[in-house]
Symmetry: C2
Subunit: 474 residues, 2 copies
């Protein structure tokens, strides 16, 4: 990559207006990732307002061989949307492109620009009488463009799939600065290669997503939540099978939390009054969405939980009495992340494993880590319905958490990822690769897959100007 | 492409055994497509029995620059799996690779080889206590490899999606003859580009699918079918919205049939006793799958149909009394295809349109065709729930059907496809491009999309040896 000519900043200002090109020292919110794991330096931040402006920005940077880092809400967890330390990269912020382009009620689709905030999208869908089911912690500030570029997951994947499954069409600016209008409200279209899914999850390395057409769903008449104590992950998996059988597509959430994770919530937020957690090694949160009524949902839950109790699958259970109590139960689940912060640094992982192998995986990983680090503790929770665990490692009691992480993170993660690979899992279930996991990938993905990926990258972005050094090494 | 050395046949025999290399005049079932639209000539048919043999076959052909045409059940509708007329292409039949590799009940997945027959896969899933929901006319002879290579659709897409949505992982032999083991029982895996979905629907032009891991679903406790008379496509669309709202994920089928299509069934198969068809311009077949009971399904249907009747959305309706009657109603729907054969040649189309635009599209296409060909008749039916119509054109009464098709097919299709493009639809909803629609694509797909597709093809199959001249021109 040649050193960028400073005139690129002026060229960009001519395209988007000087007020939409940011330079100087006040760019921290664009240059630093949400977790504070990476801090780069940008040549500038450019904020186009239209697809045409994005295309011209990409063309100008391609011509000058200046690399671009597309950025939405900058809430990613793998440092995939911040510039490197060179000071030579341009951050392409999509935040100004936040128009609602269309709602098509009969087609059950919505078309929005990339900078549309996820929560706003949920709200817009709701006001139109529909559900947009993508839901995750950062929804108040993440953008749908970023959600698609990273194929975001979240809490309702067991029913509705990841961001990929919610997307019917994209508008993308290619690495050459051409606009591909692949916006489509079609549920079936077999006219060639699946460009849409190639861009989804490519983390801004193959093109810049500028707009998307997304699926909407009917709003459920009622949602109900149960909180269940189970003795083991095996029983949680058995319960998951029963939930699929009894609730079918009504099953919209199936989360597990181990005792240590819930203990952290209880310790740091005692007012949340975590139920049942002292009884068993694991608790499960189950959500059902019902097209008929709350009474119908409750009936289904009662049938299932009675059967599970009779068969000795569960130790105890409560069903939320009302929406408020359901909300409180979800709030406990979501407070695990913050309780970890209160407790001090830990080593985080976002892995997936075939569901049938999860109990064995956890036993193996726990054992390997305990052998390497005596007294180590496991903050283990996640979306069991999708085979996705946030398998996080806390320092042994009495040991400085920050120092432990600084010293042992690499070794801890190596043990976790080796065990994941042994059980045919993924080292990044929903967070992506970005820069943080880049160097881990070659040990955990086949050389054939990596070679195919590199062929595609070279074909679509031959000068490697789009988010270089992310997903694939530069 | 250089003229193939005859020794390639011997080389292939050394890999798969002489008995699995077929030559000579008796290759019609491999050389001719199901609809009899294309008849080529193969250098030979090679029938490998293992992934390793497929890899070595591909390597040998790549080295000799001999092109390969992958073939499953050879039931495709766009001449994508038969050789060209050169006599220089090798047909790679996957039919011998038909092993069941694994069923993982707790993970709700099944892994089979490419040559597994779709109906056998449904049966295997059923015996294991699950539903594999892909269902289409050719299921008795098509293979899952072919279903994935063409991203097959069928009758339950409204709930379960196309073949793409049912696939969690693939094993593929690349154009270089390497094996990519992307078999995965994972529901979440964000470790790089989506190779799986790139191969799905690529019609054998980017790689050879040798095995797949597929999603299984809980078996519904009951399925029920209703047959509804509606005055217009507008009302059919309104009813579809009501069905989504009332039945939610229980809605597993929503088919429309126009009066002329049902009249053909009545004329050629009077014993099927088509209900309600003389009352209104359209009939709708709705299927609900229920996790609870037939009584529950019936209750939901009755509620919905009563509401629709009160609102004047439907003219009349019957709910099947039992499974046998439900089966009979589906049989009528499926008999449209054969009734068309009885009536004589017609011009077939497989298009999709955003659902909200379908009534307008049909009006516009009907008008344009009627203006061009007085008295022309429309066999219009399809999967309205997916926006997918089989919009077929029958010669005016009294005119020789075969002669009409021979003379006017191109013009008829041009009018249909131009109208499809005007309404942002797809000229191939579920059948693919193959060779038959190849020359239509450039007028109906953007130059940017085609250029991206060609970049990918060149990157993954630089010598153009995999199914050349399909999807993209050679």
């Amino acid at each position: 990559m040649s050193k960028p000519a400073p005139e690129i900043v002026e060229t960009l200002a001519a395209i988007v207006g000087a007020g939409n090109v940011l330079t100087g020292d006040d760019l921290a919110s664009y240059e630093q990732d949400w977790r504070g794991r990476a801090r780069g330096r940008a040549l500038c931040v450019v904020r186009p307002g239209t697809t045409d402006e994005v295309a011209r920005v990409v063309q100008a940077c391609a011509a000058a061989r200046v690399s671009l880092v597309p950025q939405g809400g900058n809430t990613g967890l793998v440092a995939g949307s911040v510039p490197d330390a060179s000071g030579a990269q341009v951050v392409l912020s999509l935040r100004r492109m936040a128009a609602l382009r269309a709602i098509d009620a009969q087609n059950m689709t919505i078309t929005v620009e990339a900078g549309y905030i996820l929560q706003a999208l949920q709200d817009t869908a709701d006001q139109a009488g529909f559900l947009f089911p993508l839901s995750l912690g950062a929804e108040g500030s993440c953008t749908i463009g970023g959600n698609l570029a990273t194929n975001a997951g979240g809490t309702q994947v067991v029913r509705y799939g990841n961001a990929r499954e919610l997307c019917l069409g994209l508008e993308v600016v290619t690495a050459q600065g051409e606009v591909w209008d692949g916006l489509s409200g079609l549920r079936k279209d077999n006219t060639g290669y699946d460009l849409r899914d190639l861009y989804v999850g490519s983390e801004g390395t193959l093109g810049v997503i500028t707009a998307a057409t997304l699926r909407l769903y009917p709003k459920p008449a009622a949602q109900l939540t149960a909180w269940v104590a189970v003795d083991s992950l095996e029983q949680a998996c058995t319960l998951l099978g029963m939930a699929h059988q009894h609730l079918a597509a009504g099953l919209t959430g199936f989360e597990v939390m181990n005792q240590f994770a819930l203990g952290l919530v209880d310790k740091h937020y005692p007012h949340l009054r975590v139920p049942l957690w002292q009884q068993t090694a694991w608790c499960v949160l189950i959500e059902v969405s019902d097209a008929e009524s709350e009474a119908h949902a409750r009936g289904l839950f009662e049938q299932m939980l009675e059967a599970a109790m009779e068969q000795g699958v569960i130790a105890d259970a409560i069903i939320a009495e009302n929406m408020r109590q359901a909300h409180d139960l979800w709030h406990i689940r979501e407070s695990i992340t913050l309780a970890q912060v209160e407790e001090g640094f830990n080593v985080k992982h976002d892995v997936s494993i075939p569901i049938s192998l999860i109990p064995e995986f956890v036993r193996a990983a726990d054992a390997a880590l305990s052998a390497a680090f005596e007294g180590i503790r496991f903050v283990n929770f996640g979306h069991l319905g999708d085979g996705n665990l946030h398998y996080n490692i806390q320092a042994p009691p009495g040991i400085d958490a920050k120092a432990f992480v600084a010293q042992h993170e690499d070794q801890v993660s190596a043990i976790v990822y080796d065990t994941v690979s042994q059980y045919r899992g993924s080292i990044s279930a929903e967070h992506g690769i970005g820069e943080l996991k880049l160097h881990k990938l070659p040990q955990h993905k086949s050389a054939t897959a990596l070679a195919l990926m590199r062929s595609i990258k070279t074909a679509l972005d031959p000068h490697n100007t789009l988010n270089p050094g992310r997903v694939l090494s530069a």
